[in-house]
Every structure is written in structure tokens, then in C-alpha cells.
Amino acid sequence: MKVIKKILTWVPLILLALVSLIPFWLMFSMSTYKSEMIFQNNPLIPSNFLMENIKTIMESNFVHSYLNSLFVSALAMVLSVIVCSMAGFAMTVYQFKAKKFVNTLIMLTMMVPTQIGIIGYMIEMRNLHLNQTLIPLILVWIASGFGAYWMTSFIQSALPMELVESARVDGAGEIMIYLRIAFPCIRPGLVTLALLQFLWSWNSYMYPLLFINKQENYTIPIFVKSLASAYRTDYGAQLTGLTLATIPILIFFALGSKTFIRGLTAGAVKG
């Protein structure tokens, strides 16, 4: 009976894991093929063309695009976490008249599809003379409706107001309370938001597509797409680029996975 129970537990789990992992493996395995040879062989078994594909992307603009993506995503992540956590702190700790209204506005911004606002954002960036730079790709993630909502919810459940009051009684200023009291309590929420923002920025295609008009400003998604000419798409090189592009994401998730999961499940069980 126990064996059957184990089988019934493990088989579906293993199948689900395979369904999730096979695309990853295929991405890596296909990146070791010459594009035209991928389906003339069994793509599950790696071939010997990886170095050629790496050479192809290195001879293009890969390293520069990689650095651009790292720069944009890292800065977007850090700034977004700071701004959103401040907004969440303010929305939780302070009582003010327009609070409900502001909260509704935050929710509303999450309902508006990005595509609707993009022309307005382009006009804004053009008027600020920033449209030929990487800055629009960073700014767009900083004021995030989701981030503010996420941090507000998280701080509400993770930061005891008694701590804030005690700190005030002890003479701590508001900035000190935010940095010294709130920050350590909301770390899982911050890490979760940081990872999500990094991921979204790293994978973002539409903003770079519309704002980047110079090869030197390419980010990874635009670079990968550019590995195609009029009549040929170099799938092998594209998949090599994508495989290398997933490395930072994997590292970040590996480093922050425990905190990330804690962040996601925070508040799920009330003690």
C-alpha cells in the first residue's frame, strides 16, 4: 500500500518536473547545433556546434548587449525596490486623508495595459531628451504599481506597528525607522520584488524595441532577435544567446530562492 502511495506521489511529480525541465534542456541542447541541423538529428542529444554558435554571437554585439541588460536590469531592480518599499511604508505606517484614494490609484495603474501608456511614455521621454539613451528602460520599472501594492501588502503583514511606535518613543526619526526597523522585517518581500523586477526588466522586449535605435544600446532580447537576416533565422545562435542570458536569472534565483519563497508565502498562514 505504501509503495503504491509513493508511486502515486512520485510519478506525477517526476512527470511535472520533466515537463518543466525538458524545454530548458532542449534550449541548451539545441544551442549545440548548427541551425539547419537541429531537426535532422535528435535535438535531445547535444551536438558539437556550441563553440561555433558562441563565436557567432561573440562576433556580433553580444557582450555589449549583455552588459547593457545587466546595467539596465540591476539599476531598475535597485531603484524600484527603494521607491516601492518607501511607498509601501508610507501607505502602511502613515494615516492621511487621501490614503484610500491613493490606494485606489495604485490599483488602477495595475489594471491599465502597458501598451496603452507607451506612446505617452515615449512622448515624455522625448521631451526629456532621454529617448536615445538607456534611461527610459530603467525609469519605466521604478514607479511600479505592482511593486507599491506588493510592498504595501507585505509591510502590513510583516511590520508590527508596535515596533514603529516603540522606535518613535525611543526618539528614532522616520528615515531611521524605515531603514533600521522596517527594512529587516520586510527583507523577504524586498527580495521577491527585486527578483521579479530584475526578471521583467531582463526579459523586456517592447520597451527596448521602441526606444533603442542604436546597436550600441541593444539589450539581450533585441540582440537575440537581430540574429536573423531576411531569409534565415539562426536558431542555433539565438538559443545559445538565450542559454547564456538565463545564467544571471538562475544565479539570482539560486541565491534568493529561500527568501523568495518566504516572500511569496508570507501572510499565507496566520499565527
Binding site: S35, E36, I38, F39, Q40, S60, V83, M86, A87, A90, M91, V93, Y94, Q95, F96, K97, A98, K99, V102, L105, I106, T109, V112, T114, I116, G117, I118, I119, G120, Y121, M122, I123, E124, R126, N131, L139, V140, I142, A143, S144, G145, A148, E174, L209, L210, I212, N213, K214, Q215, K225, S226, A228, S229, A230, Y231, R232, Y235
Partner: protein, 453 residues
């Protein structure tokens, strides 16, 4: 009190920046913004140009490394005062990116290549391109079918095609010999004069191979062939000719499918491309660029052994290719330099030869493309057959192109979807396929003033 004020300021400041992207309205009308930008750019560039004679031509396109870059490098070498800033933009992103730039008043590039299948959509974007007649273009020396496709109703020439891309039908000689008893192009050509001949010969192959070999690998590929070979305009008088156009294509496709001579691979996918090297698919629609990009790339052994042959399709047609247009928002210096560059690439012996050597594109300037100019160096792939004659003499002279419409891209996408449905579901007949195509088209074409006939 201070805290309250601080909190309100913090939140509203964040919200203001957050909403900026969503709520920022166009303070300036797009066209006005565009022209202001253009004027500002014009002043800047003209002062640069007058001070140092330097001109920078910007370019967005999907074929930078293969086509544009070598030509730009050479032109810059010959004219050091002309610099280029090419940006690789994926084929499908060209129009959305341009439309967003126009709507937000952002800068457009000096040169935009327009895919043949999207010429109508480009033409529909108001006044984005200059009239090349203003720069002294002589349309009579180019392929007339191609020139007609970039000439609007008022006679304005809004683009110049890079090259002629005649399309034929390629086949594997060893399989033709095995199933048809000959690999000689003249004999194969004699067998395949009409679409009905293809069905007859395809069934012969099917019988001879016990159903193992198919004449074609993909229903989508042959639907694409029928589409480009059709001269029925996609739209007329503001209405889309959906029924006529799709019936023409789907009727042939269902006949080919029902005869069992077409396999159901999706066109252009790595799986589909792998059929170029197998021993169960014999014939492939083959524009001139497909020789290197598809045949040599996917079947290097067969290509090295000269195992390919080429015949004309029942109708001469152009498949692929792009026309270059010069944007009206560029400065006068940029426009002139761009025109000089484009005509150098297409209409000078030096540029056209470089384009042929680097990209494999053959100019459609009939004063350059004479004698042996179009002689290809890869005829050994076809066992020494004179494919240059087939492409650039026999087919190029009888190319017909349906007049472009703004809905060509949508009609093409729908055709591709429905062709695959037809291949996957044998119960779909021509009428059902046409209805499915019209239904899908109706969801894509949101302009209610357009009738889908």
C-alpha cells in the same frame, strides 16, 4: 502633521511618475510633434552638413549584416563624409516600431526597407516617404512589375526595390529519377506545365513510393506559392477580396491535399527545413534567395553533389524582396545622400556587383543586369544547370505582382493559419477554409468601414 505631509508627498510623487506612462496625453498632436522634431533635426543636421559636409544616414532593417552593412561600408569608403547608423529591427517589428515612433513624434530613420508583402501597409502610412521622382529617378530602366508595386495611384514612387527575386520550383534529382524515371530539368518541366499536372505527377510519386514520398513538404509553403503567383488584388475600392483570393488559394491547396501529395510540416520551421535533406520530399517552391538560405544550408551534401534541379512554376512570380524608401522627416542633406546611396547600390555597376557578391541579390536595373551579370556562381548545386537563365531571364521577364493593399500582412497571416488547419483536418473543404479565413480576418481587421467580401 509633518509626517502626514511627507506621506502624501511620497505617495503622490510616486503615483505621478507611475501614471505618467499611462496617462500622459499627447500635449502635441502626433503630426505636429513629428514635424517639430523633424524641424529641430533638420536644423541640427543642416548646420552639421554645412559646417563639415558630414551626413549621417540612419537605417532600420532586418537584413543589416547580410545586405546593408557591406554596401554601407563600401559607400562610406567612397564617400567619407557619409556615415551610416544601421539598426537591426526584426521583420515583423518594422511597422509597429515605425507607427509608435510616428505617434510619439520620435525620430524616424532616413531609410526604411519595406517588405514586398507589406508594401500596401507602408503605402497606407500617410506621407512617410518622399517621391523618388523628385530626385530624378528613371523608372523605365527597372523591372516594371516591381516599379508598379512601389508606385501609388498618383504616380508617386515611394520606394525602389533592392533586387528581383524570381521564384521557381526546385527538386531533388535522385528522387525524381527514382520515382519519375528522369532527373532532366527539360523533361520534368514538360511534365509540369499546369497545377493539374502537379497533381497527376504527385500521385505518380505517391504510388511509386508506396505512399512514402510526398511531392511537397508543407501545405503552408504551397499556399504561399499560390498566393504570390496570384494576381488577384487583395483589396479593391476599400473592400477586401477575401472570397476570391482565398478561394483561389484554398481550392488548389485542398486539391493538392486530397491527392495526398503534400505533407503537413509547418513552413520555415526547423522541422520543415530538415525535409530538404531527407528522401521523402521532392519538390520545393524556390525563390532565388532560397538556393543559399534553404537548399545549401539544409542539404549541404545534396548541394555539394549537384543533386538539385530547377523548373519554372506555371506562373512567373516574385517571392520576397524589399523596396527602400526615404522618409520625409529626414533633412534635405540626408534625403539626397540616401537617394545617392540607394541608386549607387542598385543602379551602379560597382554597387550592384557588391550586392550580388555579398547578399546574392540581383539588381532589377535592366541597364546593369545585362549579359552575364546575373550569372550565379552556385550552379553546381544544380548539377551545372543554367539556373541564372531560369531565374533572371525566363521568369523575371514574366513576373506579375498583385497590386499591394494595406491588408496584405493580415491576409498573409490568416492564409498561413488556415493553410495549416486545412492540412491538419482533411474534412475542411474549400468553402469551409474560405469561411474560416474570412472569420479570422474579420477579427483582425478592426476597421468597420472595410468590407470583407
Amino acid at each position: 502633521m509633518k509626517r502626514k505631509l511627507l506621506s502624501v508627498l511620497l505617495c503622490t510623487g510616486m503615483l505621478a511618475s507611475m501614471l505618467a506612462g499611462c496617462a500622459a496625453t499627447t500635449a502635441q498632436a502626433p503630426a505636429e510633434a513629428q514635424s517639430t522634431e523633424a524641424e529641430a533635426g533638420a536644423e541640427e543636421a543642416s548646420s552639421d552638413a554645412s559646417a563639415e559636409g558630414e551626413v549621417t544616414i540612419t537605417y532600420w532593417g532586418w537584413d543589416v549584416s547580410n545586405f546593408a552593412q557591406p554596401l554601407m561600408d563600401k559607400y562610406h569608403e567612397l564617400h567619407p563624409n557619409v556615415s551610416f547608423e544601421p539598426t537591426a529591427v526584426e521583420w515583423g517589428d518594422m511597422i509597429p516600431k515605425t507607427q509608435q515612433a510616428l505617434a510619439s513624434g520620435s525620430e524616424l530613420p532616413t531609410i526604411i526597407p519595406m517588405d514586398l508583402g507589406l508594401l500596401g501597409a507602408w503605402k497606407n502610412i500617410d506621407d512617410i516617404f518622399v517621391d523618388l521622382r523628385d530626385y530624378g529617378i528613371d523608372p523605365s530602366k527597372y523591372n516594371q512589375a516591381l516599379m508598379a508595386s512601389t508606385t501609388d495611384d498618383s504616380g508617386k514612387i515611394f520606394g525602389l526595390h533592392e533586387a528581383v527575386n524570381p521564384a521557381a520550383i526546385a527538386y531533388k534529382r535522385d528522387l525524381a529519377k527514382q520515382y519519375l524515371g528522369t532527373d532532366d530539368p527539360e523533361e520534368i518541366q514538360a511534365m509540369l506545365q499546369t497545377y493539374d499536372d502537379y497533381i497527376t505527377v504527385g500521385q505518380k510519386i505517391k504510388e511509386a513510393s508506396d505512399g512514402k514520398a510526398f511531392m511537397f513538404h508543407s501545405g503552408q509553403a504551397i499556399a504561399e506559392w499560390f498566393y504570390f503567383a496570384s494576381t488577384t488584388p487583395n483589396s479593391e475600392n476599400g473592400a477586401i477580396n477575401a472570397t476570391t483570393k482565398y478561394t483561389e488559394i484554398m481550392d488548389l491547396l485542398t486539391k493538392f491535399r486530397d491527392a495526398g501529395i503534400v505533407d503537413s510540416y509547418q513552413n520555415g520551421t526547423p522541422e520543415g527545413n530538415a525535409t530538404y535533406a531527407d528522401d521523402s520530399h521532392i519538390f520545393f517552391p524556390c525563390p532565388d534567395w532560397a538556393v543559399s538560405y534553404y537548399i545549401v544550408a539544409n542539404d549541404p551534401d545534396g548541394a555539394a553533389a549537384g543533386n538539385w534541379g530547377l523548373i519554372m512554376a506555371p506562373k512567373g512570380y516574385q517571392h520576397g524582396g524589399a523596396a527602400m524608401g526615404i522618409t520625409t522627416s529626414a533633412t534635405d542633406e540626408q534625403k539626397q545622400a540616401a537617394y545617392d546611396f540607394i541608386t549607387w547600390a542598385i543602379s551602379s555597376e560597382e554597387g550592384a556587383t557588391l550586392m550580388k557578391d555579398t547578399a546574392g541579390y540581383i539588381t532589377h536595373d535592366t541597364t546593369i543586369n545585362t549579359g552575364d551579370f546575373a550569372k550565379r556562381s552556385d550552379e553546381d548545386v544544380f548539377g551545372g544547370q543554367d539556373i541564372s537563365k531560369v531565374f533572371y531571364s525566363d521568369i523575371a521577364s514574366r513576373i506579375e505582382i498583385a497590386s499591394p493593399s494595406p491588408y496584405d500582412g493580415d491576409i498573409t497571416n490568416v492564409r498561413n493559419d488556415v493553410a495549416q488547419q486545412v492540412m491538419d483536418d482533411p474534412s475542411i473543404d474549400t468553402a469551409a477554409a474560405v469561411q474560416a479565413a474570412k472569420d479570422e480576418l474579420a477579427t483582425i481587421v478592426t476597421d468597420t468601414s472595410v468590407e470583407i467580401k
